[in-house]
Symmetry: C2
């Protein structure tokens, strides 16, 4: 057993190193690379990803996993080794069920589709993108078929992002959530809008940077194990569990972009940095799922970063840094401004109250496309109808409608629901944590985050990918993913802000 497990771990470590190398190349590409390096960099990453795929699906890997099956049965099924083996087996089975021809074909089509989408979006030209989206839907259906029998054609796609989770579970959660959020938005939009014009003044980049760094340093981001750089789109990436980096972007005419973006990415990074180091260079050395990961970014961005206790502590500091911009804006006005609700067309700019509805729209359409009940050619109009139904607004063009997101252009069906699930999980964990930490709001108000970060590490982060997301959420909170805590959170927050 020991020897066999050691061999498996050695191969896993090699794959993990190659993944880390590919991630370093990806980070460099988005942060540092001179433009002339793009083509070669594509080849280099493709070579690494090819090797990762070959090694992950190799006979050697298969035999190592199979050879341990009986030994694992003798272990405590909750032990690290038993769990590691299960994750390896699951990933290997999934990867080897798909034919290499399909993998190649999908890579080819999605690469072309992405570049077609990039050109089509600014021109609102859905027609040119349509045949590629049709092909991608077809390929994703074929992909799902490799995993038959399934309960729902969408299950295998969702499973890639939320291991073990079923489409019906997500639908049930969203069915509870939707009417509550729609109702909430209606009552908010009936009230007078709050002022947020002061967020759109001139905010110099270097001061924004300094403030953001100060905040995430106090959150507990360890600069000996990370760094922050600029990139066109913010992201978090890790090269093993000891070097987890974030990026941000600055809009000098809109304060929230970098401010909340930095907190968001820091939340992702704190999760990765909190995973038990014993899982380093194994498949357990990462987040349990996209939703669990997003719960951590959203928690630091929203439940902490957009909360009143937080700004009780930090608003005086922010005002000091931007006296001419915020000198006449009091704390209450600022707090309401950063939490203003306004139904809008663009998902990535949506506020907390409306965000999930953007996701539900996408999920419903993805399911319909996969089921075949919606034809790609009809999708743009359905999009416009749905957004009008949920938010009362209609896109003036496809750029601000169906073509706005990159996800579909690379066939990333199954990804969107994780954003909304992450919001729900953030509130669910927050509610549990509040029971353990009596003076949690007071700690935030004092700018003390050790208690919160310590609790998250001990109860959530340290497990990495040892558990499936629903298992983990249940382990932490006592129940599977449920929308109530998030609904309560939103209702309480906006009741106060809008006087509902």
């Amino acid at each position: 057993m020991n020897e066999k497990m050691k061999n498996l771990k050695a191969l896993l470590a090699e794959v993990a190193d190659l993944r880390a190398a590919s991630a370093v190349l990806g980070w460099d590409q988005l942060v540092n690379m001179p433009e002339g390096g793009a083509e070669d960099r594509g080849e280099q990453i493709a070579t690494l990803e090819g090797l990762i795929h070959i090694k992950s699906t190799s006979d050697e890997m298969g035999k190592l996993i199979e050879g341990l099956e009986l030994d694992i049965k003798d272990l405590d099924q909750d032990s690290d080794d038993a769990r590691l083996w299960r994750v390896c087996k699951r990933d290997f089975d999934k990867a080897t069920k798909v034919t290499p021809e399909h993998v190649t074909e999908f890579a080819r089509v999605s690469t072309v589709a992405q570049s077609v989408w990039e050109k089509a979006k600014p021109k609102s030209d859905f027609k040119s993108f349509q045949p590629y989206l049709e092909k991608l839907v077809e390929l994703r259906r074929q992909y799902a078929d490799f995993f038959k029998p399934w309960d729902h054609v969408y299950d295998p796609l969702l499973d890639d992002f939320e291991p073990g989770m079923k489409t019906v579970e997500v639908q049930e959660i969203f069915n509870q959530l939707r009417p509550k959020q729609v109702e909430l938005i209606k009552s908010i939009t009936a009230k007078p809008q709050v002022d947020k014009s002061f967020l759109s003044l001139d905010y110099p980049e270097k001061d924004q940077l300094a403030f953001g760094e100060m905040v995430i340093t106090q959150f507990g981001y360890d600069w000996k194990h990370g760094r922050q750089d600029k990139s066109a789109h913010p992201f978090t990436t890790g090269f093993g569990l000891n070097d987890v980096r974030i990026t941000t972007r600055f809009n000098t005419n809109y304060l929230p972009t970098a401010l909340f973006g930095t907190m968001h990415e820091c939340g992702h990074a704190l999760f990765e940095l909190g995973i038990d180091k014993k899982f380093n260079r194994t498949p357990l050395g990462g987040g349990a799922s996209m939703a669990v990961h997003e719960s951590q970014s959203r928690m630091w961005e929203n439940l902490i970063g957009r909360s009143r206790p937080f700004w009780n502590q930090y608003y005086p500091k922010l005002k000091e840094m931007f006296p001419s911009q915020l000198g006449n804006v009091d704390l209450d006005t600022f707090y309401k401004g950063i939490n203003a609700v306004e139904p809008s067309l663009i998902r990535v700019e949506a506020d907390e109250a409306t965000y999930n509805l953007h996701i539900m729209l996408r999920l419903e359409m993805e399911i319909a496309l996969m089921e075949g009940s919606l034809a790609v050619k009809d999708a743009p109009e359905v999009w416009n109808e749905k957004i009008n139904e949920y938010l009362g607004i209609t896109p003036p063009n496809y750029e601000m409608g169906i073509l706005q997101d990159v996800h579909w252009s690379f066939g990333g069906f199954g990804y969107f629901p994780t954003y909304a699930l992450g919001n729900l999980v953030s509130a669910q964990i927050w509610e549990t944590m509040a029971k353990d930490i009596n003076d949690m709001d007071l700690q935030v108000e004092k700018g003390k985050f050790e208690g919160i970060l310590g609790w998250l590490r001990e109860n959530l982060h340290k497990y990495g990918a040892k558990y499936e997301p629903q298992e983990l959420v249940e382990k932490v909170t006592g129940s599977k993913i449920t929308p109530e805590p998030y609904i309560h959170y939103l209702e309480n927050k906006y009741k106060e802000i809008y006087g509902l």
Copy 2:
């Protein structure tokens, strides 16, 4: 043939991609990596290097090379494919002659030896380093023995840096050079020293950076295919032929460090960026040898960067940037100051007149150590005697004597001579180029470098590693590496500066 060659090139491209990936990880480690990432980064690079070694020495590689042997005979022996095949065969034969056990043992010992040296150097503690150096000498002898029969035990080591070159060739060159340089230094030190105190004033980093960037931009460094960052020790690295980066370091109390360091690394980068792109992702897509590479860094640093024509153009600009430091220093004084000759103990700080003597000392000692005519335990004293003989000074301790360089700590015997050979080649090529470009000095004086860079690209850079260094130098200049042009260069330069 075509199909077989295609397969070989595909495998070579894969190896080249892995090398590029390893280089990106290495660059990141020295430029960006937070300190906490060091251990994992070591594993990641080791995994990549392991894969590179496995693929480079694989049966698959051997069979592809062997399978082409007859086809290659039918080709023009100077064609790209024939040359590529020869280089592949040479590298494969060299790599497979050494046992994997030896490779592992050498990697193990040199890693430990390097960390022992790091601790021993600041304490001038040669005794603690001695057993490791003894082991490394022994291992390098064993390494040489894999390549028997040889003319000289040092040949296989030299060959790793200067393919095809023999120890006796280097000795003959150095035997001609040594008396001339010793004589030159004697006549210079008999003259009054020139003033260079103004180089050691306070020079703000940001202005040094701006001036250096301006200079290398005019040299022709293409920022779309490169960038410059800071690192503890300056270096050049490339990830394919379209992304070649340099680093520099600043000493705010000594202007020459960054100024000439930047020009030096730029010279390396211009070479890599000038290699014909058809050699990208093949073993021909690099410099012909260390000496040829060094000839290019030295040319831009010294033959251009420390020349009077260059400063006729650039000194007014430098003075404008540093008015308080250089306001009272005229061009002649500045020019003499940056070319001051002063026998000193530290190689990396040596001027052009004394530098090669540092190298000769090391080469003589390396050869004696390898031959066994010098015991490691006696090496420190021999070092001190030799430096006294050549430069008339004696190190006060081993830190400034035998322990000063990193090279021996990783067993890098064979490396040092390439520095001096690079100096010689730089002057040899310069002399040839001057025959083709009549107004070369005038072009430098006008800050116009397109003619020079264009000539170097057309006559040298584009060939990459297609030819062995002696072949290439002969192709460019009409003769193999010879010391005369460098001697003339030094004599002319210092005659004027010191009024010899």
